[in-house]
Structure formats: C-alpha cells, structure tokens
Symmetry: C2
Subunit: 434 residues, 2 copies
C-alpha cells in the first residue's frame, strides 16, 4: 500500500525558490548579529524535559512536544532558544562574562496554526548573559534593528516596555500582587490585538478586580506610551524607571530612535521575563503579530542552581518574518540555479567539457551540464533557458580541437568564441560587470 | 529544587569558538553545493511516522525517535534527508525534473554513541531526482568532493560500489537471492571495520552459506577494487557494469580521479539503495567511519504511490566530519568576537561613541563597547584584549570635542588619532590590508 505524501498541520516545506530567499535572509541577519559582537552557539533540539519545565507558564508548557525516548527518558523538543542558553551558561561555568551569543535554531510549539504562526519555526536570538547594564539591552535591540534594516525594512516599530515599571503602576492602581495581577498582565498583553474597549471589558469582568479598579488601571496606564507617566513613577520604582530611561536613551543615541517607542502595555506571556520587554510590529502587517521579541530575564539561571545572572535578549521569528516579506514582496532572492550550462556535443567534448565544468565551479561559478549531454543542441539549450542560466557554453568536437568554446549570453543573445583555458575567468568577469 | 543543567547522552553543544568554525564549514560546503547547480530545500524535522517507516531496514527503524504528538498523531523525527526529499517530490508534482536540491538539516538516530557518532547530527545532502544518467551520479560526487576540497582536505578516498554489480558477482558465486544474500551483504559491509579474515569467518558461519560458498564469494570479489573483475561481469549485468564504468569515467574526466576508487565491498545498510553506493574515508582517520555517503535509490519514490523516478544523492555527515577536522587541527576558524571595541570615557563620549559603534557595524565591522562604559580605561582596555579585538577606539570628552578618536592597534601597540567621521572607513581599510 502506498503512503500518501503529506505534511503535518502547522509544518512547512520551503521549496528551492523560497528557501534560497529564506537562506539569504538568515545570512543577512547572521551578519547583523555578528557585527554587534555576538558569537554563534548551537544546542540540541532535544533536552531533558525537566530542563524546560516551569519556564513558560502553564499555557506555554501545554505546547511542549514532550515524549519518552527509546531509553525511557522524559524528553522534549526545545520551545525557544533562551532556556537552552540558560542551561548552557549554568553547565559550562568558565564561559566568558558577559556572554554574548547568537543562535539560529528551530523550535517547536504545538500551537493552533494561524496566519504566520507555525508549529515548527526558526528563531534567531541574540542575548547577553551576565550584564545588568542598560547598554546590554540596547545592544540586543541594536542587533535586531540592524538585522531588520539589513533586510530592507524601515516600516517597523519596536515597542519597549518594562515589567517592573508596569507593576509599579499597577501598585498605584491598587491591583494586589498575585493571581489577579497575572490575570491583568495577561489581559493587557492582548491590547494590540483586541483594542482598548475590549481590554476594559475583560479587566472589569475579572472577579477580583471589578469595574472601578479596571478604570483605575486604564487611567494610570493611559495608552502606555507616555514617557512622562514613567518618570512620575521614579519614586516608587527608581531602578526600573532609570533602567528603562537609559535603554531608550542608548537606543536613540545609537541612531535607532525612529524605530523604537515606549509601550508599557507589553507584558509578554513567558514567565521568565523580569524587566524590559520588547515586541516588534510591522506597520504594514500588524495582524502578523510580533516578529521580534525579547526582554530581561534576570532570574532564569537560578533555576539551575547557579547564582542569578542578569541577562537580556532578543529573538527574531524568522519564519513569521519571512512570511511577511513574501506577503509584501520584499523577500530577498537567493541563488537557486546555475549561471552557466555547458552543452556537450560530440564524443571529444565529453572529457574537455566535464573538466571545464569543474574549472567553472572551482572559480565559484554555479555551473552544470545539461542532464542528457547526448541530446541535440536545441534540447540542451532549452535546459539552460529553463534553468535561467545566464550563459550557455557550447562545446563540439570542432571547438575542442581548437581549444575554444562558444559562449552564448542568454540575456542578450550575443555569442562569441572564447579560449577554453580562459573561459571561466571570462565568464566570471562578465558576470561581475552587472 | 534546582534542576541539574545537563545534556542527553549522544547530544552536543557547540560553544562559540567551535560553532563559529562549524558554521564556516557549513558555509563552505553550501557554496560548493551551489556551484554544482544544487538549490536549497527545507523540510520539517517531524514527519508522520508512516512517511518514514519501511525505508531504513529493521535495524534502522529501531533507531527512529517516534512518538505521539499532542493530537495523538503517530510522528517521528527525520532519520535522514533522503526520505523527506522523496516525500517532497511525490507531494509537489510540478517540480522541475531533474530536481537538483541540497539540504542542510539535523537528523536523529537513537544509536549507541561512539567516536564521531552522535544521536543528533547535521547532514548536508546533494541529490538529483529524475535522472538515470551516470552524469547525475558524477555530479553528486563532484559536489561532495569539491566540498571536502573546499575545506582544505586532500587525504580522503571516495569508495564507489554498485549493488547490481555486487549481486551479479554473488550470483556467480552461487549465493541465492533472499535472506542469505542480505546476510552476506551485511557481512561485507563490515569489511573495512573488521578485516578480510573476520569477514571470511562470519560468511563461513552463515548456516545457509557454509565455508565453501564463503570461499567462492571472496574469490569472486578479490579485494573489491579490481576494475577488470567488474568488466568480466558485463555479460551478466550489462547495464549495471556500464553505469558504474561511466560514473568512474565521468568523475575522472572532472578531475577527481585521485579521490575515487572502485570498491565493490560497499553495500550500505539502508534498504533503499538500488545501484551505485558511496562511502568516504579520511585516510588519516579511518576509524572515524564514512564522512560522506550515498548512492542511487531508483525505487524510493514508488513507496508514495508515484511512478518510480531514478535518483541519486550524496550526504556529508557534518558533525562527524567536523569532529575529524577538530581532531586533525584542520577545523576552519570563524568569526567569534569583535574586531573593534569602543572605550567611552566621560559623559560627552556616550552619545558620540554609541553612534560610532552603529557606524562601524553598518560598515560590516564587528564592533562593541566595553560592557561597563563607566569603568576606568584600563578595564575597558582589558576587555578589548580579552575579546581579541584588533582595535580599541578611545573616546574621551576631549576627543569628542575635537571630533577625533584615538585608535589603538592592539596587535602592534601603535596608536593614532583619526577623525570620527572617517574612523569606520579607516579601520575597515586597515583591516582589509592584512
């Protein structure tokens, strides 16, 4: 019985045309992260389940791909790259501090698939472990913003909040710490999606809060973007306010002021955040959700029995961002086919032609023969055109005897003879001129 | 209770120093594959289990990471990149033929961990689906050989066998098709590891074979590398012999003769191979096992209910190869730290310095500030040295007022003032001179 070839829901293939662009995008983000002094780390996809448990809140934990391996061990696929980073820093005690790393890695979450949301997706993270300085926050933001700019994006907004400042504000509005406050944070997190009125309604409906306190919360918060209100909290939460102010100042000094905005409504679902929190909206595709998120998690390392280390990071949701770029026609184009097709005609051409293909490749040119080099020239030509090659090189017995190849420019239609020995260089310099 | 930070057995972290080199290695192999006209494909790590089952033989199948997902679906982590490729070609019927793709992907096998053998490892594959031509085999081999050469390797041997030719030889030695022949193939596959005498002993011990037939098998095979013996089988298996001869001829015409050798003893464990088979030994690290393997699998597509498509591919075991490169001191070095550290001294330097860091980064230079820009110069300097930066830029209030920075070459100790506006270009051109 044949098996039906099919994909699991929420999972994707990227066929060559798309994957070449996706790879080009990953390369550009990598370059941006590296210019910001981050170095690469790689960790396994599978971790002991207890390494991951208790980090993502109840809702997150339900989304883990958790199973028993063949040896009966309780394991899970990683849910993000932050918790594995914390595990690494706790495990290898002699890593340099601060530890600046980036990571490109697939993560898995059994979420309900939706627009731009997949169950398996690629994240690219830049984190600094072991620095409480607001410059560390700013450097992670800089890495992310330079990455987005490197993709040609300029219509995006990084919203910067702070859990500590937000909690001070909730203190002022008499929302007690504990379960009800967590509920309030969860509701505020939905603001972008559902709007102010719905938030008001949901807050008022919380049994331990009620309409009056809900109004107090919203009065205190305003629209969340008023820096004056933050300054007014300097008495209650001096460190948090100073830190948030310094992060905003540093990011502006770095030249990214137009891309960032204070937004206190951001709470971020993940349990491990303790200070600044970030989310990034594409202004032309707001329904896509945040494409770049992060924040401070100063307490996460402690869960592995090591002293608490102040840490901050940012994470680009590569596949969501790529879907956005495709949707807006801005996806980069990568290399997905040959630049040169060598057409072999006649027996003598065979050996010379195959050696020529190797010479072209050694020079870094993308080159191949037609799949059937015994076919007529017309068919080999058609192959070159279908593969969108720029040049076809025709080698027949006569050409080989005279040590030359006929090079046809498939864009212009021009054709000329070039000595075989100099042919790869000739093509490379002509491609370089474009 | 804190959780002990630890890894599963057979799984690895790659810390920045190593991962930067590993990434450089992956990039070079990618480039080699692209020059050979292969385009990238990406498929999910998780597939429906029935997509993977029945492809790897009984021994392989036991090694699958198979589990029920949260929706109760029977799923498994991919075991290789070949079967997902076959699923893709069967699923998307309008892909171009022949379909040349490469893929970089993690695979999982619950094998007993050993030297150079991991349970999670990266594979890089180049395959051509839909071509029966020996040139397709040769092009996959070319991609692999160019990749290894691109890593600076020249002491390796790609051993090329052919299942059809080997079976014709076993016919001649009166080994009947069926279970006993499969046992014989399995024993022959161990030759490299255990040696000729042990193979003889194991063959003789097979109840359905016996010492006499075992001797006949080894007499027919010789040491497996005699091309004359292959030619002598042209009567029994004309197509297989002609194909094998053409592959060897094409690879030699391409200029790779010194890296390839006929070796009929290669059988390859995977059930799906039907024709040529490849394995690659590092001559200085033979115990590492094969670092690059592959072959023809002309029947695999049929298992998904589509017509059989002749296909061939090669797969580089990236992590085994990387372990070998590390062991032999040949691992490439990647970028894992900043080239420039900007030291900020004084209040006025703050804004100018952060803007300068951005300018350096935009120019593609790896740059950062010291983690604590309020520290004394000595400490900021120490940071630059520890990070192995080439340059430290010192910006104090005086420098900022005069719009210049003091640039110290940490290799030579030279220091000179450079106008801030031209400083990034100055550093780039000086780095470029090396």
């Amino acid at each position: 019985m044949p098996v039906e070839p099919r994909l699991l829901k929420g999972f994707r293939d990227f066929l060559p045309g798309e994957q070449a662009g996706r790879q080009a995008m990953i390369d550009r983000i990598t370059r941006a992260f590296e210019t910001c002094g981050f170095a690469p780390l790689s960790t396994p996809a599978i971790e002991y389940a207890d390494i991951l448990l208790g980090k993502y809140g109840d809702e997150g934990e339900k989304l883990l791909y958790r199973f028993q391996d063949n040896g009966g061990r309780d394991v899970a696929l990683r849910y993000d790259l932050t918790v594995p980073l914390a595990r690494v820093v706790a495990q290898y005690r002699d890593l340099p501090r601060p530890f600046r790393r980036y990571q490109v890695g697939t993560v898995w979450r059994a979420e309900k698939p939706a627009h731009g949301r997949f169950r398996e997706f690629l994240q690219m993270d830049a984190d600094i472990v072991g620095s409480a300085s607001p410059l560390a926050d700013a450097d992670c933001l800089a890495a992310g913003i330079l990455a987005l700019q490197g993709l040609g994006l300029d219509r995006f907004r990084v919203r910067i909040g702070h859990r500590g400042v937000l909690e001070a504000m909730l203190d002022g509005a008499n929302v007690p710490p504990g379960p009800v406050r967590i509920e309030v944070l969860r509701v505020l997190d939905k603001w972008e999606k559902v709007g102010r009125d719905a938030v008001m309604e949901m807050l008022a409906a919380l049994p331990e809060l009620g309409p009056e306190a809900a109004t107090a919360v919203l009065d205190a918060l305003g629209d969340g973007t008023d820096e004056g209100r933050v300054e007014a909290l300097a008495g209650q939460a001096p460190e948090a306010v100073a830190h948030l102010r310094a992060v905003l100042g540093a990011v502006r000094a770095m030249g990214f002021g137009e891309f960032v905005a204070l937004d206190l409504r951001i709470a971020r679902g993940l349990d491990y955040y303790t200070g600044t929190v970030y989310e990034t909206l594409l202004l032309d595709l707001p329904t896509m959700g945040s494409v770049m998120s992060g924040g401070r998690y100063d307490g996460l390392l402690q869960t592995y029995g090591v002293p608490s280390l102040p840490s901050v990071g940012i994470s680009i949701g590569v596949d969501r961002l790529f879907a956005a770029l495709v949707e807006s026609g801005q996806a980069p184009k990568g290399a997905s086919g040959p630049q040169v097709v060598v057409c072999l005609l006649g027996n003598e051409a065979w050996e010379t032609g195959l050696a020529l293909v190797t010479d072209l490749r050694r020079l870094g040119l993308r080159a191949e023969t037609a799949p059937d080099p015994t076919a007529r020239l017309k068919k080999q030509f058609e192959h070159a055109v279908r593969r969108e090659a720029r040049y076809a090189v025709i080698l027949g017995d006569a050409e080989v005897r005279e040590r030359r190849g006929a090079v046809k420019d498939l864009a212009s239609g021009d054709q000329q003879d070039v000595p075989i020995s100099g042919l790869p260089q000739w093509i490379r310099s002509h491609l370089g001129e474009e």
